[in-house]
Symmetry: C2
Subunit: 306 residues, 2 copies
């Protein structure tokens, strides 16, 4: 730990299943950390690890060189940074840096960056991949859009929470790359679901099928990690359909704006609606298999809800 | 090498880009090998490595304990095993074993197995994955359908050509599993193509995109191996669209028979028809990207044909 990086005071807003372990990594890396969250228990937990608590986002931002947020969706992100009584941006010190780690629309990221820029503040959109497990293990991939100078200053802080930290372009491009990621995750999920449904309906053993398919050109993270859950009829999340649908709405919105044809992604987005309509949106994305099974007219038993 | 396995005389019919290196592995493992192929140069090459040549499939089969074939499609497989003047099955010794390594329809595999059974001969369908590179490196995955006793006898021979050798069920099930594999390969290809087209049209650098997406839940064999070819605008095969379309016709036929819904696979099969109609069916399957680009109305330059 250099004296320089230890001197940066870091604020963290939003201590959910992702934010709480990420803030913990910052404390263990030696940064002075100030936290704020809607819910009190994670605040108490981090205070017991050495963090200070702030009453609201503005009080937090006023004391920090770098303010981070990790929040559920666009509306909350816009409120916290711009649109509430105690919003972050108006309270930030000149020359400080704001970074939003949430997955929101590129347009929201650009809107906050433009407002920040007008105040002489740098703002990065830096959504992450790797999920709760990656947040806890400190192995997240972080994809940042915004000024390179600000990214370089923030790098020691981001590096304490993830293992692959990329500057990918101007404001909004971090979000764009995260959306590209969700396209591949979704379509890979369809690959696993279709291949396993075909195999099962052919009478093949699914564990043997996974053993064969994982070995070569059919292999994927989804095949290795979610294929076995499907074979076990385990549809617990992992990553919830509800959250994927939120991300796929952002994908389809961005794709419509730039007129990119997403035939597979659009199809999967529509199929996931079945699980939203049937009240199963809290299952993991591997429940795409259930939709295909029901479509086939040969449904297996419905799983218990999580 | 045990005396027992060395005593099995092995015949190999079809010395194409897959068969030739596979037969070479058998010679190096110490098996007496007899070869036959439509084309003379690979026969000469294997004879120079110690193989004997046979004039036709029947002459080969009459001398062998185990007869293998690796051929391009159903029609040729049926001719070689059953329907030509010098067909394999009528010439085989009682108690010998036949194995077809080609990718053909499960129905074709079952038809040959039934005829073999009536003659007191065991027949396995054992299609492979891993491609030319896997055939050369001896790292193929082989998925066998048919009698377990015959599989166990053949295992030392198959093990000389591949690294993962699975008995997956009765006759036809090896082919079924290979078709499930091709479903996942195709849909994974769509995942890479859609994600990279979205990223490129958003203005992201594709190498950075691949670096980020390969790290997590979006990762796949296709992302790692074919994603970089797409980024380099390299559409040379790998695995040709023409051959994938042959396999996807078998997939759709089997799916129609068992009434499995293959929404993604059917879509990709239709999209690949564009490349067949445009005379580009000898490009690699990563050329799915070209179809999506043209569909988007923002085509890049057409690549040179291989």
């Amino acid at each position: 730990m250099t004296q320089l990086t230890s001197q940066l005071t870091v604020g963290f807003i939003g201590l959910g299943i992702m934010g709480k372990p990420m803030a913990g990594h910052l404390l263990r890396a030696g940064f002075p950390v100030i936290v704020h969250s809607r819910s009190q228990p994670p605040v108490d937990a981090l205070v017991s690890q050495g963090a200070k608590a702030a009453q609201n986002p503005a009080e937090l931002a006023a004391q920090c060189d770098l303010t981070l947020s990790c929040l559920p969706e666009d509306e909350t992100v816009l409120k916290v940074w711009l649109q509430s009584e105690h919003a972050v941006l108006p309270a930030m010190k000149p020359g400080s840096i704001g970074i939003d780690l949430s997955t929101v629309s590129p347009a929201t990221a650009r809107q906050i960056a433009a407002d920040a820029s007008a105040r002489g503040i740098s703002f990065l959109d830096a959504p992450v991949t790797g999920g709760q497990w990656g947040a806890e293990a400190g192995t997240l991939c972080m994809m940042a859009g915004g000024e390179k100078v600000a990214f370089d200053r923030a790098l020691p802080v981001l590096g304490a929470m993830g293992k692959k930290i990329l500057h990918v372009g101007e404001s909004g491009m971090g979000q764009m790359l995260k959306l590209a990621n969700q396209i591949a995750v979704s379509v890979n999920m369809l690959a696993v679901s279709e291949a396993l449904l075909f195999a099962e309906q052919a009478g093949l053993d699914l564990k043997t099928t996974l053993d064969a398919l994982g070995a070569g050109a059919a292999g994927s993270w989804a095949m290795e990690n979610l294929g076995s859950r499907i074979a076990d009829r385990n549809f617990q999340p992992g990553f919830m359909v509800k959250l994927m649908q939120k991300d796929l709405r952002l994908v389809m919105e961005a794709a419509a704006h730039q007129k990119s044809p997403l035939l597979g992604t659009a199809l999967i987005h529509q199929l996931f609606q079945h699980l939203e309509n049937s009240g199963e949106e809290r299952l993991g994305i591997q429940a795409l298999t259930l939709v295909l099974e029901r479509l086939s007219g040969k449904p297996a038993n419905a799983p218990e809800m999580p």
